[in-house]
């Protein structure tokens, strides 16, 4: 009996959890952004997307269930918490470690290590900003739509949160996926690595542009 508890392979489990939770969060992030970007097609399109996400097609009156969004917010929050708890093992948390990293970057300024440092920095920004975003939408799911969201972003100062969150999370996710692919050997030789690096930069750039364009597109709907 005792043998079983002793044999839990925590290090491996944690590393797997970090990669898998990261992949799930990245997929969610990109799908989420595509859905929000429906505002670029106009208020009706976004309204339709928002209602569909509330499963309006399942309710008799066609209004859907806004609490579905709250449930999603809670689930994503839990996934983020899991990802953070595991990723924390990798961050330099002590002064000694931070000094070692700074000294290392000074003596050997290696590109992919710099990239990782940005991933760590953006990770902390997301950690701080994402819960606020989740709370805002999770607590008032019925307001999500062209007019409610526009009001939140432009009248209540939401953009102050969303712009840094968008920049940080899109950089973090793309670098993260790039690293997961290399980490588990899903890409082949160095040539694929260069292409992969390019692809991740393009993905970050496109999603940031689409995100910023969507934020701007909400502006006319803010009364």
């Amino acid at each position: 009996m005792n043998r079983k508890t002793h044999r839990v392979k925590w290090s491996g489990l944690l590393d797997l959890t970090q990669s898998i939770s990261g992949i799930l969060l990245a997929i969610f992030l990109w799908v989420h952004l595509c859905l929000v970007a429906s505002i670029l097609l106009g208020a009706e399109a976004m309204q339709w997307v928002a209602k569909t996400m509330e499963l309006s097609f399942l309710s008799a009156d066609g209004h859907g269930y806004p609490w579905v969004v709250t449930v999603m917010a809670v689930l994503i929050g839990v996934l983020i918490l899991l990802h953070v708890l595991v990723a924390l093992h990798k961050l330099p948390l002590t002064l000694k470690q931070q000094r070692a990293l700074n000294k290392q970057m000074h003596v050997i300024p290696h590109e992919d290590t710099k990239l990782w440092r940005w991933q760590a920095i953006t990770g902390v920004i997301v950690l701080l900003a994402a819960p606020v975003h989740l709370w805002l939408v999770g607590a008032a799911p019925e307001t999500i739509g062209p007019y409610g969201s526009a009001d939140r972003i432009w009248n209540q100062g939401g953009w102050l949160l969303y712009v840094p969150l968008l920049l940080a999370v899109e950089l973090h996710a793309a670098v993260g996926i790039y690293r997961v692919v290399l980490k588990w050997g899903l890409a082949g030789d160095d040539m694929t690595r260069i292409q992969l690096r390019k692809a991740k930069s393009i993905a970050s750039a496109i999603f940031i542009l689409v995100g910023l364009a969507s934020l701007v597109a909400f502006m006319p709907h803010a009364s």
């Binding site: 491996g12 590393d15 470690q97 050997i108 992919d112 290399l182 050997g185």
Partner: protein, 254 residues
């Protein structure tokens, strides 16, 4: 262009003047402080950092400490940080640096002997003992009369590829993970584990290897910063090898 006739003395040479900014510190000497000293040297055709250092020591400063043995990229002794890149001094041509300014630092992460000389041997020995980096045969009793099992040429070639490691310490120095986590085994440790994992003569199972590197000081502590992959002077496939071990070790969970 009669560069062929350049002599060893800097006055007669026709090459450009190189500025070597060299880290100097002797921990054995009381009161000595880390500093950078600048040495000037005329470049000669085909000059490597190794040749330049020998000239500086011969002609300018006999107290300069650095390591070398083979001058051909085989012994792994002369690794140092050259303009921010950890690599072998004997395989780095001075002509690579267009500016003519060359900064030399000792490899970080190792015990400093003095100036550019570090004790990689001590680290490598401790690592070998910790990870048990030697062949563990299937059977402990040795029968000298039994015929050795043949090895497929492909497997022999794969092993040889990993055996090319010269233990220069570059992968350890280039790894920020290792700098932040002193007990991390680094690419050299994982490369050697992978070498025995591939060896059909080694009796250890994936489960046995998990006990050695299936932790945050081993393969699961690697953050894939790829300093090892990008700097290894022998171009060993560290990225693929660590990924292979990671998959192998993760598979033991299932």
């Amino acid at each position: 262009m009669n560069q062929q006739t350049t002599s060893m003395s800097p006055e007669n040479a026709s090459g450009r003047l190189l500025n070597f900014h060299i880290f100097r510190y002797d921990p054995q000497q009381k009161g000595d402080k880390p500093r950078t000293e600048v040495y000037q040297l005329r470049e000669t055709p085909g000059m490597t950092i190794f040749i330049a250092l020998n000239q500086i020591r011969q002609q300018q400063d006999p107290s300069l400490q650095f390591d070398f043995v083979c001058r051909a990229g085989i012994c792994g002794s002369c690794a140092m940080v050259i303009n921010g890149l950890p690599t072998l001094a004997c395989r780095t041509l001075t002509s690579k640096f267009k500016q003519g300014d060359i900064t030399l630092m000792p490899l970080p992460g190792f015990e400093l002997i003095g100036d550019l000389s570090v004790d990689t041997g001590k680290f490598m020995r401790e690592l070998a003992e910790r990870l048990k980096l030697w062949l563990h045969p299937h059977h402990h009793e040795i029968d000298v009369h039994s015929i050795e099992a043949p090895m497929a040429p492909e497997q022999a070639a794969a092993l040889y590829e990993l055996e090319r490691c010269v233990e220069c310490g570059v992968c350890v120095s280039a790894c920020a993970t290792k700098q932040m986590r002193e007990t991390f085994v680094g690419a050299v440790g994982m490369m050697k584990i992978a070498r025995f994992e591939l060896d059909s003569r080694d009796g250890r199972t994936a489960e046995d290897f998990y006990h050695v590197i299936g932790n945050q000081d081993g393969v699961f502590g690697c953050m894939t910063l790829l300093g090892c992959q990008d700097n290894c002077p022998k171009d060993l496939p560290h990225m693929q090898q660590i990924a292979y071990l990671r998959r192998k070790m993760a598979a033991t969970i299932l």
